[in-house]
């Protein structure tokens, strides 16, 4: 390498010194300026009811009545036979605009040139809404960047749980998305009768305030998704294998433990994962773990209660006794496939898989049967089933759209809100007859392979709100699910913060992330049960107490001083 000559005018060493001095100088600038405390990300509380600017609710009479009548939203009504669909919207608007809507997609994104999209577009009046599919597994995190960079097209669908990825969702909403208040407030039944028929609570849950402390700055910033309730997740058991082994479906936590011990061998296990769902088996519910304790008159976190130790002891027993698959801590096992193969008895899952599994069996693609465990409790306590009725999420529109464009998209949303028993819903839900589905011998629609890939599985226009939802599909499955829902009603516990949306302070969220990691350490034998008090103390000292105060204030704001 050639040496620089002494006369080299450019000395890199000098450059480093200069750079370092420059950096120090730049760093010093802020100190010279007046400094203040960190005030952002301190959480926000938003009432979601009691507004006078919401759309005036006007019932939209259902064209067909369900076969089984439940108690919505936690116990939805059901159709055990497919009704003759009627057209919900006869006066179609004519749309000419083209829009891009960002939606999550789990699995392979459907081809956009499929006849489904053309048929739907034509049916709702010509407006073209192209779906921009994002990977559902990482959607929440990447959506943060899309929204901040304004690279989500004309609208974006976000499910409730995804909002946790935003450091300050309230600030994001009021700064990034279209304020729909002027367009949808009051009587909208003439142009959008189906949107007017959505529950008022749905629209209330689409409200944010520019200034969380000033209710007068509140507005409607999204089109709400469907309002629903009941138990969405559960523990599915292979009932055929239980029966073959002469084991009974467990009805208590203790019985579950015994069944698990009887089932597990060197090559098959009771579980591959059991964590987020089972707090309720030990009476642990609440929002972010917080509940109001009327005896102590204070907000108490689940981890401070003795039942939490019971929960951790139970989880640790599963691990220590080898009832959990030894690679379960990796979190990479395909629990559904393993259950299907008979390697695993119980899976923690969405109850949609109950239907999926049994459909597979009917198609001859799998053998056996699954069913959810009933509500369980330990030590003779009464079981609880925690539910959270509300909307699943929102469709946010870009604030750069014009009023006319927003109205055109609302036309589409209104069309998509048509419920079961309408031709609109049939097209949305099942696609084009002969291409995506055909009617089976029992008169119910049966998906073809393209129907499953293009229409059934991906999130698409179905995610817009429906006026009402029902249990539908395979009659046997519908009847089983309806019966199950009926059986758990007596145990249902509503969340403590109805009518209010709370975004916890960032410090509490960060502490909660580590708290979960610490629980996993104990459950998988990497830390001792005796470390629970230390874990609780660390959490409370690093954001937990701040969260307690925050939730206490929110609770008192709703229920008053008790």
């Amino acid at each position: 390498m050639q040496s620089p000559t002494p006369s080299t005018p450019f000395k890199r060493r000098s450059l480093f010194k200069g750079t370092a001095l420059g950096a120090l100088g730049a760093a010093g600038l802020p100190f010279a300026a007046a400094c203040s405390d960190i005030e952002s990300n301190n959480g926000s509380t938003q009432a979601t009811e009691g507004f006078d600017f919401l759309p005036t609710h006007e019932d939209w009479p259902l064209p067909v009545q369900p076969d089984l009548v439940g108690e919505p939203p936690n116990h939805p009504s059901a159709f055990t036979s497919y009704p003759e669909p009627v057209q919900a919207i006869t006066d179609l608007p004519s749309g000419t605009g083209s829009y891009e809507l960002t939606v999550p997609c789990w699995g392979t994104p459907p081809a956009q040139d499929d006849p489904y999209f053309a048929a739907v577009s034509e049916a709702w009046g010509g407006t073209k809404v192209t779906l921009r599919q994002g990977d559902g597994m990482t959607y929440g995190d990447t959506a943060v960047q899309w929204v901040k960079a304004d690279e989500y097209g004309d609208g974006i669908q976000l499910f409730n749980y995804m909002t946790g990825s935003f450091s300050n969702f309230q600030e994001t909403v009021v700064n990034s998305f279209y304020d729909l208040t002027e367009i949808v407030q009051g009587d909208i039944a003439e142009r959008w009768p189906l949107l007017a028929a959505l529950p008022t609570d749905s629209w209330g849950q689409a409200v944010w305030s520019k200034d969380p402390d000033d209710p007068d700055t509140a507005g409607i910033y999204a089109i709400p998704m469907t309002y629903s309730g009941g138990q969405g997740n559960g523990i599915l058991a292979r009932t055929d294998l239980l029966e073959a082994e002469g084991l009974a479906m467990p009805t208590t936590v203790e019985e579950l433990l015994e069944v698990s011990r009887a089932w597990t061998t060197d090559s098959r296990w009771a579980f591959v994962g059991l964590d987020w769902f089972i707090g309720q088996w030990f009476g642990l519910g609440g929002i972010d773990g917080w509940n109001w304790d009327p005896e102590q008159k204070k907000m108490v976190n689940n981890i401070e209660r003795p039942e939490f130790t019971e929960l951790m002891e139970f989880r640790r027993t599963l691990w220590d006794e080898g009832l959990m698959h030894p690679d379960a801590p990796t979190g990479t096992l395909d629990a559904a496939a393993m259950q299907e193969a008979g390697q695993v008895m119980f899976t923690q899952d969405n109850l949609v898989r109950w239907d999926d599994f049994n459909q597979k069996v009917k198609r001859g693609e799998a053998e056996g049967a699954v069913a959810p465990l009933p509500p369980l409790a330990a030590k003779g306590r009464t079981p609880i089933v925690t539910v959270s009725p509300g909307i699943a999420g929102w469709t946010f529109l870009n604030k750069s759209l014009s009023k006319e464009q927003v109205e055109e998209i609302l036309d589409v949303a209104n069309w998509c809100a048509a419920p079961y028993g309408t031709t609109e819903r049939q097209l949305l839900e099942y696609g084009v007859e002969g291409t995506h589905f055909d009617f089976g011998a029992d008169g119910n629609p049966v998906f073809s392979t393209p129907g499953v890939e293009i229409v059934k599985n991906p999130v698409n226009y179905k995610a817009f709100a429906q006026v009402d939802t029902f249990l539908t599909g395979d009659p046997d499955m519908v009847a089983d699910r309806f019966e199950y829902n009926a059986s758990i009603q007596q145990y249902i516990v509503e969340p403590p913060f109805q009518g209010i949306r709370i975004e916890a302070p960032a410090a509490a969220k960060a502490a909660g992330t580590t708290l979960w990691d610490q629980q996993q350490d104990i459950a998988f034998g990497r830390a001792e049960l005796s470390s629970i008090p230390e874990m609780v103390e660390t959490y409370l000292d690093n954001g937990g107490e701040e969260a307690r105060q925050y939730y206490t204030d929110a609770y008192k704001a709703v229920y008053g001083e008790e």
């Binding site: 390498m1 040496s3 620089p4 002494p6 080299t8 000395k11 890199r12 060493r13 480093f16 370092a20 950096a23 730049a26 600038l29 802020p30 100190f31 300026a33 007046a34 400094c35 203040s36 405390d37 960190i38 005030e39 952002s40 990300n41 995190d141 943060v144 901040k148 946790g164 990825s165 935003f166 450091s167 300050n168 600030e171 994001t172 700064n175 060197d266 698959h325 030894p326 690679d327 801590p329 990796t330 979190g331 990479t332 960032a506 410090a507 969220k509 960060a510 502490a511 909660g512 992330t513 580590t514 990691d517 610490q518 996993q520 350490d521 998988f524 990497r526 830390a527 660390t538 690093n542």
Partner: protein
């Protein structure tokens, strides 16, 4: 017969000093434009993807929100750094990072050199090509694949565990054991990256004059002597250069490898600075300023380390990352 003649040049008159005519900027542009054009994409890349983002480090001193005009974001001094250093999970993450960096420096760096020397000693071209492919191709595997392969082979329900069970033994507890995570990480590095690290040393080895080996061999130097006195001194500048660069990046030990194994091994064994920033700043929602403060901390420490290491190299007479002027 030729006679010896003086080869001294005839005395010449002293040449007048060359007086370079000072060229104007326009003349220099006209003369150098092809070179400037070649450099333009690189300069543009550096400006857009390095210098401009670096300027945004200033938000580490602000209570920043992307929804406010930039200058309306209040300055908070070193408050974010205070929060960072007071966080009980920061120091363990820093210590873990240093632990993995030290392991990498001590065990991986020499391994690449040893592999390069071994490769260099293979004479058969076929064997050499096969060896090279086998050791460096894993570099192109993603960390997802590497971790999956390790779980499938060494996991509690993996290949080896099932052999052991069949033989009446017990399952391996290796891929989800925090106590052996350091060894696991080293094994993954060795498989994935040692071969890749070897390539640059191979290039340095190729630049050594073969006649030096021939001369040493004819003087009776054995293989080890030749390596000690010719090979290693020959590639020493490259070793030092890479060592300094590695020391500069000591706090950047990677992200995916640790994040992917976090569930299996637990956060205490796997938390490094990069995963800490992700979990606290993005998952934990502490915002852009907090993440930037953590990133700036890493950058400043890296700059200091690289300058110190370079200085030490100069003191020992080495060239370092630039020639001492």
């Amino acid at each position: 017969m030729a006679t010896l003649q003086s080869t001294a040049p005839p005395e010449a008159a002293p040449r007048p000093p060359v007086v370079r005519r000072k060229r104007t900027v326009r003349q220099r542009l006209r003369h150098d434009w092809p070179l400037l054009l070649l450099a333009l994409p690189v300069v543009a890349h550096l400006m857009v993807f390095h210098y401009w983002p670096s300027a945004w480090n200033i938000i580490a001193f602000m209570d920043y929100s992307p929804y406010r005009p930039f200058w309306e974001n209040p300055f908070v001094g070193v408050a974010w750094f205070g929060r960072l250093f007071n966080d009980p999970y920061f120091t363990p993450a820093l210590l873990n990072t240093l632990k993995f960096a030290a392991l990498n420096l001590l065990c991986m760096f020499p391994l690449s050199i040893v592999l390069a020397l071994a490769m260099n000693s293979i004479i058969s071209i076929k064997v050499r090509s096969a060896f090279q492919s086998v050791v460096y191709l894993p570099h192109f595997f993603s960390w997802v694949l590497v971790v999956t392969v390790f779980v499938q082979v060494l996991g509690a329900d993996g290949l080896v565990s099932n052999w052991l069970l069949d033989a009446g033994g017990e399952r391996l507890n290796f891929t989800s054991n925090p106590d052996s995570f350091l060894l696991l990480v080293w094994m993954q590095w060795a498989w994935k990256d040692a071969g890749w690290g070897m390539i640059i040393f191979l290039a340095a080895l190729a630049s050594i004059n073969p006649s030096l080996y021939e001369a040493a061999a004819s003087d009776g130097a054995n293989r080890w002597r030749r390596m000690w006195h010719i090979t290693l001194p020959g590639i020493r500048p490259v070793i030092i250069l890479l060592l300094i660069l590695q020391i500069g990046g000591i706090l950047s030990v990677g992200f995916e490898q640790y994040q992917l194994q976090r569930q299996a091994v637990g956060y205490q064994a796997t938390e490094v600075l990069d995963t800490y920033v992700y979990y606290q700043s993005i998952v934990g929602n502490q915002g852009e300023s907090f993440g930037t403060a953590a990133g700036l901390f890493k950058g400043v420490i890296g700059l200091i380390l690289i300058l110190v290491a370079n200085n030490i190299a100069h003191r020992f007479g080495e060239q370092g990352i630039y020639q001492k002027s």
